[in-house]
């Protein structure tokens, strides 16, 4: 497999299954670690291999010496859970910067299929806020940049995400359904660049539509070949450095 890391010994590419074992063991570092993180998010086969290894290697824990924790540990766990319970009912506001430009099209249409998604996009691009028949093209208007779409559903179809990225306008639009995070959790969207580590795009709703402007840094990561992924994370975290839970959904971004 051409895109797996080369063995330092020059023995050729590392078998993905062995890379999964190394990832589960925790020995990877640098580019190999980032590649394994990316695969774990974007490739269900690889993620299943990591689980297979974890289920076996962690049997070794039985050999570790048992050490009684001090009583303060349980008290701290209880205190932490109690503070979370008291927060239930408070809705964490999503970062939703003010909209600019035309209102987003209904990306629910994007859920129906690639052809329709492209058609919806074409329709959108051809129907700005002003009627098509008027006025010649405005010379200063930026050329439309690449449009990227991702349409992802879980195996049982319970979780769905349709995303459209307008690179020129640096804007992300999503339509999501079916997410059901646990207490104190939120769905978090990740971009996984080809060959790179996952980068958080922040919290997203459990259900419904969502749109926001992208920073130039985020826009740069959202390119053809990158993948979008969703995990459940701590809703109270100030930021998300790396996914801490298994991937729920992942799929590639395709240019249309």
């Amino acid at each position: 497999m051409a895109d797996t890391p080369e063995d330092m010994n020059g023995e050729g590419p590392v078998d993905r299954d062995i890379l999964a074992g190394e990832y589960a063991l925790g020995v990877l570092e640098g580019a190999e670690l980032r590649e394994a993180q990316r695969l774990n998010l974007s490739d269900p086969t690889f993620a299943a291999q990591v689980k297979w290894w974890n289920n076996r290697l962690n049997l070794l824990a039985e050999h570790a010496e048992a050490i009684e924790p001090s009583p303060g540990v349980w008290r701290a766990v209880e205190a932490k859970l109690s503070s979370e319970v008291s927060e239930i009912g408070q809705v964490t506001p999503l970062e939703q910067p003010p909209r600019r430009g035309p209102a987003p099209w209904s990306i629910a249409t994007a859920l129906l299929g690639g052809g329709l998604a492209a058609a919806a996009l074409a329709l959108y691009l051809n129907t700005p806020t002003t009627p098509v028949t008027t006025a010649p093209p405005i010379v200063e208007a930026p050329e439309p940049g690449p449009q990227l779409v991702a349409q992802i559903a879980s195996e049982d179809d319970a979780l769905r995400l349709a995303g459209v990225i307008d690179s020129a306008a640096e804007r992300l639009s999503l339509n999501v359904s079916g997410f059901a995070p646990g207490e104190g959790q939120t769905p978090v969207l990740w971009v996984v660049p080809e060959g790179g580590a996952p980068t958080s795009l922040g919290r997203i709703p459990e259900d419904g539509s969502f749109a926001r402007d992208l920073t130039p840094g985020e826009s740069a990561l959202l390119a053809e070949g990158a993948a979008l992924a969703v995990t459940y994370e701590d809703a109270a975290a100030p930021s998300y450095d790396a996914p801490t839970t298994p991937i729920l959904l992942a799929g590639p971004l395709t240019e249309v």
Binding site: E22, L25, E29, R56, L59, A61, A66, V73, G182
Partner: protein, 186 residues
């Protein structure tokens, strides 16, 4: 049913109750597993205070993630230990303290199997893993065991074992490959 089987079944049902939001069930899981998990975490962290901070974080994660535990796909103790090891390794690497620990190696964990009635995992699965590890060449077995217990990366292991990085990587990779063949072969 042996007492060990009963204990495992008790742990599975406690985890299922945790998924339903039962705090008392989390305490049951904690009582059954916290000493074992602290042993795993302390071995990686080396520092008791930090290890207990990580242990606390682990049970908060267990509370949040219990709904995703699937007894048909993982044993409760490997599921818990995966969370504990990953949390400890993340904490250690975030703190950037790892290099300091490399010099003062702890004695390697003994191969002796724990008493069957103390085990929380399936004895048959455990025995197969131990048998397959025993079948590996010594360097392969030793590097895999050290990385597991001490949470070391390729280059840290190469330093610890005083071998070139390429040699160490090939021990781990060949070892995992043989282990896979042995485990999959039953």
């Amino acid at each position: 049913m042996t007492s060990a089987d009963e204990k495992r079944a008790g742990l599975v049902s406690a985890l299922e109750n945790v998924a339903g939001g039962n705090r008392a069930a989390l305490r049951e899981v904690y009582d059954m597993t916290s000493a074992k998990l602290l042993g795993v975490i302390l071995r990686i962290m080396r520092d008791r205070d930090h290890a207990e901070d990580v242990l606390q974080e682990v049970y908060v994660k267990v509370w949040r993630r219990a709904a995703r535990f699937d007894a048909s796909k993982a044993s409760p103790i490997t599921w818990l230990c995966t969370i504990a090891r990953n949390t400890a390794i993340d904490a250690l690497r975030r703190s950037g303290k790892h290099g300091e620990a490399v010099g003062d190696s702890l004695p390697e964990v003994e191969d002796e199997a724990p008493l069957a009635e103390d085990m929380l995992c399936d004895a048959e699965d455990h025995d197969r893993l131990v048998r397959c590890l025993e079948a590996l060449e010594q360097d392969q077995r030793r590097s895999i065991r050290m990385s597991f217990y001490d949470g070391l990366t390729h280059s840290q292991l190469a330093d610890r074992m005083s071998v070139p990085l390429g040699t160490l990587k090939s021990w781990i990779r060949r070892g995992l490959s043989s282990l896979k063949g042995c485990l999959a072969g039953g």
